[in-house]
């Protein structure tokens, strides 16, 4: 049995979680998932501003904090912290923790190969909209293939203390140690599916130990000290989800079910570079306090294609807010919204979208929000986006004047004009898997 913990569900997750996972009990591998779809876009923007950046900057200082315990307790770290610049990330780790051997998985970056792919006849149409990639070709900022668990397993085989990948799948981070330690083969579909599903259960950190959980949420123990999840993986593909006993939170089949359903598509076809996992074969069993046993998982052959994560310049946006107080707060906010729209129209600005929400009334749930006819206060939130930065910037000047020249009772403008932000949009597409060749570079 090996213990694989997840100490980071996204870049920006709780900094203390990975440290506590190492300090509070035994683990063998610490997986850290830094990348959501939109994270690659953000990292690409940072690399544009500074070619030495483009990776999860929280990661090297974290390794600095835990390097000593990693060596003492023989814990190895696997992270997709490399983002769009994994070598720079590895160098930063080596600078902070020179005694650690770092292996980097390369080959996911295909930014320079888009035209080559096009010339080979790969349409790379967007998996959501079906549009051809030619419609955004001149605005592409980054392109990375999702890498599976086998290259990460190879990196572990170098004996590195830290394995850094760029755009690996989230699930590969947990599956890779199982492949490495149990010697699973590339066609062990059931086992690979089991490891993939274990990875899915832990990839969002505390979302499987009681965080963001609807079931009995008031009584989840000690959420302030919530423990992050640990997989106790067996060579046969079965596993237990648990947490350190002294940590807060709750591991129960109800909680694990919520995470299994999180960001799920067709449950019989959970497609990764390693296999196709079938979520309808999962058997869960509560097996003692904070222990859920998972077994019975079946998988099928991996796909002949790999998915690309492409980011591209998608224009500009800004969001302006004002707060209206009782009485008639919602009516006042609505009137202010109409005024802004009239003024934007008379300015003749080229905007693709103007979107209004009334926080406290309908922002989260839109037309199905619980009726709240006389709220004590309402935040008017107007967002705009468009291809012209100047037009969006002009909008940002239309909110604060309403305090004096609009309906009564407006406040909440203390932060001044809202910032104009560039939209780095996301595109996903497929290419034949044989086009993607990975390699391992070892530092130290």
């Amino acid at each position: 049995m090996i213990r694989i913990a997840n100490g980071q569900g996204f870049w920006g997750d709780w900094l203390e979680a990975p440290v506590r996972l190492i300090e509070q009990g035994p683990i063998d591998y610490l997986a850290l998932d830094y990348l959501a779809e939109i994270t690659m876009s953000i990292l690409q923007k940072q690399k544009q501003a500074d070619p030495a950046l483009g990776y999860a900057r929280d990661f090297p200082p974290l390794i600095g904090r835990i390097a000593k315990q990693m060596r003492e307790r023989n814990v190895r770290v696997i992270a997709n912290a490399g983002g769009v610049n994994p070598i720079a990330c590895a160098q930063a780790v080596r600078k902070i923790a020179p005694g650690l051997k770092v292996a980097v998985v390369l080959g996911d970056d295909v930014f320079c190969r888009i035209d080559e792919f096009l010339s080979k006849g790969y349409a790379m149409s967007d998996m959501d909209s079906g549009e051809p990639i030619s419609s955004i070709r001149d605005r592409i900022l980054s392109a990375n293939a999702y890498i599976g668990a086998f290259p990460l397993g190879e990196a572990l085989a170098t004996g590195a203390h830290v394995v850094i990948a760029g755009r690996s799948t989230d699930t590969a981070l947990a599956l890779a140690p199982m492949i490495h330690r149990f010697g699973w083969g590339a066609e062990d579909w059931d086992k690979l599916a089991a490891g993939t599903i274990a990875g899915h259960i832990v990839e969002c950190g505390a979302q499987t130990t009681g965080g963001n959980c609807q079931v009995d949420w008031r009584n989840i123990p000690d959420m302030a000290n919530i423990g992050y999840p640990i997989i106790e993986a067996e060579p046969d593909g079965s596993f237990v989800i648990t947490k350190h006993p002294s940590a807060g939170g709750r591991v129960h089949s109800d909680v694990v079910k919520e995470q299994l359903l999180y960001e799920l598509g067709d449950p019989q076809n959970y497609i990764t570079p390693d296999c196709v996992a079938d979520f309808t074969t999962i058997q869960l069993q509560d097996a003692g306090p904070d222990r859920v046993r998972v077994s019975g998982i079946h998988g099928r052959q991996r796909p002949a294609t790999l998915k690309l994560s492409v980011s591209y310049a998608g224009g500009w946006k800004a969001t302006g807010t004002l707060v209206y107080s009782w009485p008639e707060a919602l009516d006042k906010a609505r009137a202010a919204d109409a005024i802004v729209r009239t003024r934007l129209q008379s300015l003749g600005l080229h905007l693709d979208e103007i979107y209004t929400e009334f926080l406290g009334v309908n922002a989260c749930h839109g037309p199905v929000a619980h009726p709240n006819p006389d709220p004590p206060e309402v935040q008017l939130r107007i967002g705009v986006r468009g291809p012209d930065r100047k037009a969006v910037d002009r909008f940002t000047r239309e909110m604060i004047p309403l305090v004096l020249n609009g309906p009564p009772g407006a406040t909440g403008f203390g932060d001044g004009r809202p910032p104009v932000r560039e939209i780095v949009a996301y595109w996903s597409a497929l290419v034949p898997r044989e086009e993607i060749k990975t390699s391992i570079e070892v530092l130290g």
Binding site: Q214, K257, E258, Y262, L264, F279, L284, E357, C364, H365
Partner: protein
């Protein structure tokens, strides 16, 4: 008897681009999973959200977990970094669905 979904099920929602997924899980699968299958059709979920969801709604069954999974297409104002919404990733869509009335 009509009750809100929250009396027999819990939910979690998330995003894939402009598509929102909502997992609906029966608290007591043996008793209530058949109720979910019967009552919570893709058409009902589509009608419930009205013009908040522009595209189609798909439903998948996971009887082993006593759960349904819904995909709500064109539901997040463009999704990800494009959306202008306060909830561009549909994190709260699952909570909204708890209010739908079902016959038990």
């Amino acid at each position: 008897m009509k009750v809100p979904l929250s009396t027999i099920a819990h939910t979690r929602s998330g995003d894939k681009g402009d598509t929102c997924n909502i997992g609906v899980i029966a608290y007591h699968p043996e008793r209530d999973f058949p109720v979910l299958v019967r009552e919570l059709t893709a058409d009902r979920v589509k009608a419930f959200f009205g013009d908040f969801v522009q595209g189609k709604v798909e439903r998948f069954e996971l009887p082993n977990l006593g759960a349904l999974n819904f995909l709500l297409h064109e539901a997040l104002g463009g999704g990800g970094t494009v959306s202008l919404r306060v909830d561009p990733q549909g994190k709260t869509f699952g909570a909204a669905l708890l209010g739908i009335e079902i016959e038990v």
